[in-house]
């Protein structure tokens, strides 16, 4: 019943806040600390959605999105990226790589949930 969402962010506080918000709204969450970490987990685990930061060490958000879209297990899942208002160019690059949508930091929990409901079938 609960949809499974993977989050990828190197910022522990954002990760914590996102996971808390998701769990409050009945979603199950897997957290990962950077792109490489997320991609490794996604190779073996089917999830319903990915929420990823763009700036991350090891493998950044764009690399992660490309990796997911060229994989098989999670190829078609919705991917939401967390951007900041100064990242317009990066946002377009991520969209071209296959991101579904975005949410601009800072955001409120209810904004995050609204975006998720926009792209994730209930």
């Amino acid at each position: 019943m609960g949809k499974l969402i993977m989050t990828a962010d190197d910022s522990a506080s954002v990760r914590q806040m996102v996971a808390f918000t998701l769990k409050q709204n009945g979603y199950d969450v897997i957290e990962s600390v950077d792109g490489r970490n997320a991609l490794t987990k996604l190779a073996a685990q089917k999830v319903d959605m990915l929420i990823t930061d763009l700036n991350m060490p090891n493998l950044d958000g764009i690399g992660l999105i490309k990796g997911v879209r060229s994989g098989s297990l999670n190829k078609f899942i919705p991917i939401i990226m967390l951007t900041t208002e100064s990242q317009d160019a990066l946002k377009s690059e991520a969209k071209a790589a296959g991101a579904t949508g975005w949410i601009v930091k800072p955001f409120k929990p209810e904004q995050l949930i609204a975006v998720i409901r926009k792209v994730l079938a209930r």
């Binding site: 506080s13 009945g26 919705p78 949508g101 930091k105």
Partner: protein, 704 residues
């Protein structure tokens, strides 16, 4: 919880600042190391982004300046200088101060000086202003007042073929539009290629949407925010309530198609000269696809309706009148008689073969049908009024039991016959009580199981053919398949080694006296329960189904016919008697020859589409004299998801059955749910299929 997020942020920022310091010192040694530059940039970015999330606005604003400079360095537009490193180290200290200090205790000037210093370092050409506020997906604003301006929009949404590859789901977008107001959606297929050239992952469909909403164009654009860059989205205003027009009609079909760019004005003239129905002609000529015409017609209809509603005087006291329910019942009865008489008339007209007479009878038939439909809708009420009653029930019960339960409803405007709604009340109360008492766990149990502590009960109604589906879903503990099985074996209801499907096991809870509750609570557990529910629902000619997953929840679906007065049915004949079977349950009719019977060696089984299907001979069951024809007919019906056949002499055909209750003496007859009067005045009995199937099953058991 927010405090905990803030504490985590402080800790995280502290670590990042330590990392920053060492990176800056390393950078001093090797100023061209791009890894180090990237790391500095990332640290600044994270401190800024996360800081803004948790209310550290001053840190976010200050760090933004440093980040901007390092973005330039990263892109090779600036070099790493001693000056830059000094300023950045100072920034680090300033951020540390901001982080640990309360408001107002920090030396602002120091921050301003650093920012000014950083700005001086930036080459002139790069000092463009950064825009700060960018629209992010918004929580849709609530539609508040009814008198807000209602506008009708024509939207064409032509997605990029590769929309699905990016994880987008057009259905969700269409649903979002539907939530904005009154909405009609027409799918356009003309881009769908032949199967052999089709790429399964591509989206070839596009959609025409007509939407009436009090929200503006912006709200509609917001729906498409993630896809507007690579999809074609055309939004045009076609009607508005502020438009001073008394005209309740709307544009002609041709005008709409031309406006949409689907058709050239020249073509319109050419076609109009031929004088046929315009839409048909367009399609005949292959100028536009049928879907395009349909979409334009829907726009026409939609706007007309909206305008008519607007022109209609605001609903005041005179717009509705109260009528005693008995008078309505009487009206329905009279209409029922009328349907019967009309059937007789049609029969008579057809046998006389007089064209004038046939004409009149057809006209009467049309009027009667309209009268029947109108009359039946008068008794229809939205089920929503009952729903609100249940909200109260959920609230009271959950308080009593100390559980946190939220109730969600959907389809409250689904209409059902008034009598049906009344009779639904008790069964629904029972099911919802069960969900709350047995289904939803105590909050601490839920939290331990990793579920949200607030339990959810969903109650909804939706149309399904000529029935309404009522769903009661909870996200509670679910039914324990094994426990029910064990209990049923204990009670001697099923054999210990019986092989049963989940639904068959769940069905055990409908047995009289069956209760899973370990102790009797105020709310439930006395073992009088689901069997009463089942009887109530079957009394309405409905059916009940259970689906459950242990630990995840239970869904109970009730299928209820729209009305109790008149049903579509199949008329059959045995000997000289007519019988009626509700058409909704009928699956198909097949022949039963003598050879088939002999081949089955005395067992009442016949092979239909490869499946062995049991059958009952109604002639035997009702002890009707005479001999059957050489080839009999089997009507295959579905009872509780299982196929069973009823053998009859002839299948006459579809029949509009006006249901009459049986007289007092016959009311307890098993297997007959009512009667109807035929066109020629004779009586046909309405078969109660589920009871008949049960009787047959019992008889089979006793024989074995």
């Amino acid at each position: 919880m927010v405090d905990q997020h803030i504490a985590t942020y402080r800790e995280e920022a502290g670590e990042l600042l330590a990392e920053l310091e060492s990176s800056l010192l390393d950078l001093e040694e090797s100023p061209d190391n791009s890894d180090l530059i990237n790391r500095v940039f990332r640290v600044m970015h994270t401190i800024k982004g996360s800081g803004a999330m948790f209310g550290f606005d001053e840190i976010a604003a200050f760090t933004h300046e440093v980040e901007t400079v390092f973005d330039l360095v990263r892109n090779g537009k600036m070099a790493v200088t001693k000056q830059l490193l000094d300023l950045t180290l100072k920034s680090r200290d300033h951020i540390t101060a901001l982080l640990s200090a309360g408001h107002g205790e920090v030396n602002r000037h120091e921050g301003d000086d650093i920012v000014a210093g950083l700005r001086q370092l930036v080459p002139q050409a790069e000092t463009t202003m950064q825009k700060m506020d960018e629209p992010t997906a918004k929580v849709p604003p609530k539609v508040d007042s009814a008198d807000a301006e209602q506008k009708t929009w024509r939207i064409r949404f032509r997605p990029n073929r590769e929309l699905l590859l990016n994880g987008n789901n057009p259905v969700l977008l269409l649903n979002e539009l539907r939530a904005l107001g009154t909405c009609h959606v027409v799918a356009q297929f003309d881009n769908v290629p032949r199967l052999d050239t089709m790429v399964g992952e591509h989206c070839y469909l596009y959609w025409d949407i007509i939407l009436t909403s009090s929200l503006g164009e912006e709200a509609i654009r917001d729906v498409f925010i993630f896809v507007e860059d690579d999809c074609e989205i055309k939004i045009e205003l076609v009607d508005s309530s502020s438009l001073a027009t008394d005209d309740q009609s709307y544009k002609k079909l041709g005008e709409i198609l031309v406006e949409r760019g689907d058709l050239l004005p020249v073509e319109v003239q050419k076609i109009l000269n031929q004088q046929k129905r315009f839409g048909e002609m367009l399609v005949d000529q292959g100028v536009v696809t049928p879907e395009k015409v349909q979409s334009a017609l829907i726009e026409q209809q939609h706007v007309k309706t909206v305008r008519q509603e607007r022109a209609a005087p605001a609903p005041d006291a005179a717009a509705s009148i109260r009528v005693p329910a008995e008078r309505l019942d009487q009206l329905v009865n009279l209409v029922g008689e009328m349907v019967t008489v009309q059937a007789h008339l049609t029969q008579a007209a057809n046998s006389l073969r007089d064209p004038t007479f046939i004409n009149i009878s057809e006209e009467v038939e049309r009027l009667t049908n309209e009268l029947r439909d109108t009359t039946l809708t008068i008794r229809m009420l939205p089920i929503g009024s009952t729903f609100s009653k249940f909200k109260r029930l959920v609230r009271d019960l959950s308080q009593e039991l100390g559980k946190d339960i939220e109730m969600e409803t959907f389809g409250a405007d689904t209409e059902l016959d008034k009598t049906v709604i009344e009779k639904m009340n008790d069964p629904l109360v029972h099911i919802i009580r069960n969900s709350i008492d047995h289904g939803i766990e105590m909050p601490e149990v839920r939290t331990a199981a990793g579920k949200p502590s607030i339990g959810k009960v969903q109650l909804g109604a939706e149309h399904f053919g000529d029935s309404v589906l009522i769903t009661i879903r909870d996200d509670g503990a679910g039914l324990d398949r094994d426990a029910i099985r064990a209990k049923a074996v204990d009670n001697g209801l099923i054999a210990a080694n019986a092989e049963l499907s989940d639904s068959e096991i769940f069905a055990q809870i409908f047995t009289p006296g069956f209760s899973m509750a370990a102790k009797v609570t105020n709310v439930s557990g006395r073992g009088v329960g689901m069997d009463v529910v089942k009887r109530g629902i079957e009394g309405l000619r409905g059916s009940i189904a259970i689906d459950s997953l242990k630990g995840k929840g239970t869904t109970i679906t009730l299928k209820i016919p729209l009305t109790l007065a008149i049903i579509e049915s199949l008329l059959v004949k045995i000997g000289d008697s007519h019988f009626v079977l509700p058409l909704a349950s009928v699956e198909e009719c097949v022949e039963l020859s003598r050879a088939d019977v002999e081949a089955a060696h005395g067992r009442n089984l016949v092979k239909v589409r490869g499946n062995l299907t049991p059958y009952i001979s109604l002639r035997e069951l009702f002890d009707i004299g005479g001999s059957p024809p050489d080839i009999e007919q089997i009507v295959i019906v579905s009872v509780h998801g299982q196929s069973i056949g009823f053998v009859v002499d002839f299948v006459v055909g579809e029949h509009q059955t006006v249901i009459k209750p049986l007289g007092r003496f016959y009311q307890d007859v098993q297997g007959i749910s009512g009667a109807t009067i035929m066109g020629d005045g004779s009586v046909a009995l309405i078969l109660d299929l589920s009871v008949l199937a049960q009787t047959a099953e019992l008889a089979e058991h006793n024989q074995l």
